[in-house]
């Protein structure tokens, strides 16, 4: 039996092999996802009694980083899948239907996608226009889903919607829809600067006659506050760290090659390498400390639901996304033209394009505005080791 790291490395090797084609053609990283399934990495978080491996977010984060160094799109697909699974594990164990779903995800290695973003609402996770319309034991849902990554490749989509047509915009539920239960009419094509392989097209989503059991019993407000926001920020940041890390690797190799050509001298770029390695370490520390906070708070609904915890996770997202962009740019300035050109061992075009999505993926200003509200009541204080 191989270790988790070995399984991840095998999948990452395959992801790297096809990374250029995925980016160039803006196509789904099929080979990488097939490898993730073959290594049975899609059911990792699911509890062992339901056929998974009961892995924590820390292990998933490590895998996001490994994959992020190989193919950012494949890594982001893996991260988004596990963000959805984290919500199922945290909030679905009381529902027989969702337990069976988790068994199927682990057994059949089903790929789960997310539909929160809606036309006219953008990245405001906690507001929906669309509503679940229930008649008897079944419901219908129509949603202008302006972004669903790998929407047509996923086996299951978890979508947010208002609880009923009269409900307030923030009174939302999370519904699980199998690929064969929905029709997706493509409304926009994901032809973007970076993260091209996530295939995050826009769709009109229609679902009819879906059993009401497929609605997660917990209000989405709780799901967002207790699992989704934190797991999104933690796993996205881990992907961005993987991207930044591989950019610094290229810069390091470049500087070391220069040093070998001129023995006895420290190349001028080494100073810049020292700076960027400093930034990378700070980024890693920010992610690891937030991951620890998350793991320590597991099962402690009060802490996870607290304002202080939300502020920490929000700050992680804005910090990690900005640092990742900065680090890749610094790496590029070290490597120079060899990084600016495509097709060299030092090319940094793709990582730069991919990482530029980080501050936009739920816009940093939106997150800062949210934190600003929370800070109106947070009191602060605290110790070095506990705050």
């Amino acid at each position: 039996m191989s270790t988790l790291a070995q399984r991840a490395q095998r999948a990452a090797t395959i992801a790297a092999l096809h990374a250029d084609a995925v980016d160039r053609d803006g196509r789904f990283p099929l080979e990488a996802v097939t490898a993730l399934k073959a290594e049975r990495l899609l059911g990792l978080q699911i509890p062992s009694q339901l056929g998974g491996e009961g892995a924590g977010l820390r292990e998933i984060a490590d895998l996001c980083c490994t994959l992020g160094q190989a193919c950012s799109s494949a890594a982001m697909v893996f991260a988004m899948h596990h963000i959805k699974v984290a919500s199922l594990v945290a909030h679905g164990l009381d529902s027989a239907w969702h337990c069976h779903l988790m068994e199927r995800i682990a057994q059949e290695q089903l790929l789960v996608a997310s539909s929160t973003t809606e036309a006219g609402i953008g990245g405001d996770l906690r507001t929906s226009f669309c509503a679940v319309e229930t008649t008897g034991g079944v419901f219908a849902l129509g949603k202008d889903a302006s972004v669903i990554s790998y929407g047509t490749q996923a086996d299951l989509i978890l979508a947010t919607a208002r609880r009923h047509p009269e409900a307030a915009g923030s009174d939302q539920v999370l519904v699980a829809l199998f690929a064969d239960q929905v029709s997706l009419e493509r409304k926009s094509v994901w032809d973007t600067l970076g993260m091209r392989g996530t295939c995050s097209d826009g769709f009109r989503l229609e679902a009819r006659d879906i059993p009401v059991e497929q609605i997660l019993p917990k209000p989405f407000a709780e799901i967002a506050a207790q699992s989704m926001l934190a797991s999104s920020h933690l796993l996205w940041s881990s992907v961005w760290f993987g991207i930044a890390n591989s950019a610094v690797d290229r810069a390091r190799t470049f500087v070391q090659a220069e040093a070998r050509r001129q023995p006895g001298q420290v190349p001028p770029t080494a100073l810049r390498l020292a700076e960027v390695s400093n930034a990378l370490q700070a980024m890693r520390a920010a992610i690891v400390s937030a991951l620890r906070r998350y793991e320590d708070a597991q099962g402690d609904v009060d802490t996870i639901g607290s304002i202080g915890f939300s502020v920490i996770m929000n700050n992680l997202k804005t910090t990690a996304s900005e640092m990742a962009v900065d680090i890749v740019q610094r790496a590029l300035s070290i490597v120079g033209l060899a990084g600016y050109k495509n097709g060299t061992p030092f090319s940094l075009g793709r990582p730069l394009r991919d990482v530029l999505s980080a501050p936009l993926m739920i816009g940093n200003d939106r997150i800062l505005a949210n934190t600003a509200k929370l800070l109106l009541v947070q009191k602060g204080g605290g110790q070095l080791m506990s705050a």
Binding site: A167, V301, D302, G305, S306, V377, K379
Partner: protein, 84 residues
């Protein structure tokens, strides 16, 4: 002494809860009634202002503000720490 009616009056000043404030039972979940994170921050600020208190960080959780009954208890604990 903090009464449910005091709290209902404050809820009535909240944009989302205003239309339903009078119908909310003491134990009804305010979040189910549409209270979002910003709404709960506004609510906390209004309570701090009204009762001349400051909620310490450990009280700033969803649970402390989940219902009228929970708010009554939270406010009472901050007002009279020794009694709690």
């Amino acid at each position: 002494m903090v009464t449910s009616q005091d709290i209902r009056e404050i809820l009535a000043t909240n944009e989302v809860l205003a239309p339903v404030a009078e119908q909310i039972g003491d134990d009804d979940s305010l979040f189910d009634r549409g209270l979002d994170s910003f709404g709960s921050v506004q609510l906390m600020l209004a309570l701090e202002e009204r009762f001349g208190i400051e909620f310490p960080d450990e009280f700033l959780t969803r649970k402390s503000f989940a219902s009228i009954a929970a708010i009554r208890e939270t406010v009472a604990t901050v007002l009279h720490p020794q009694a709690a």
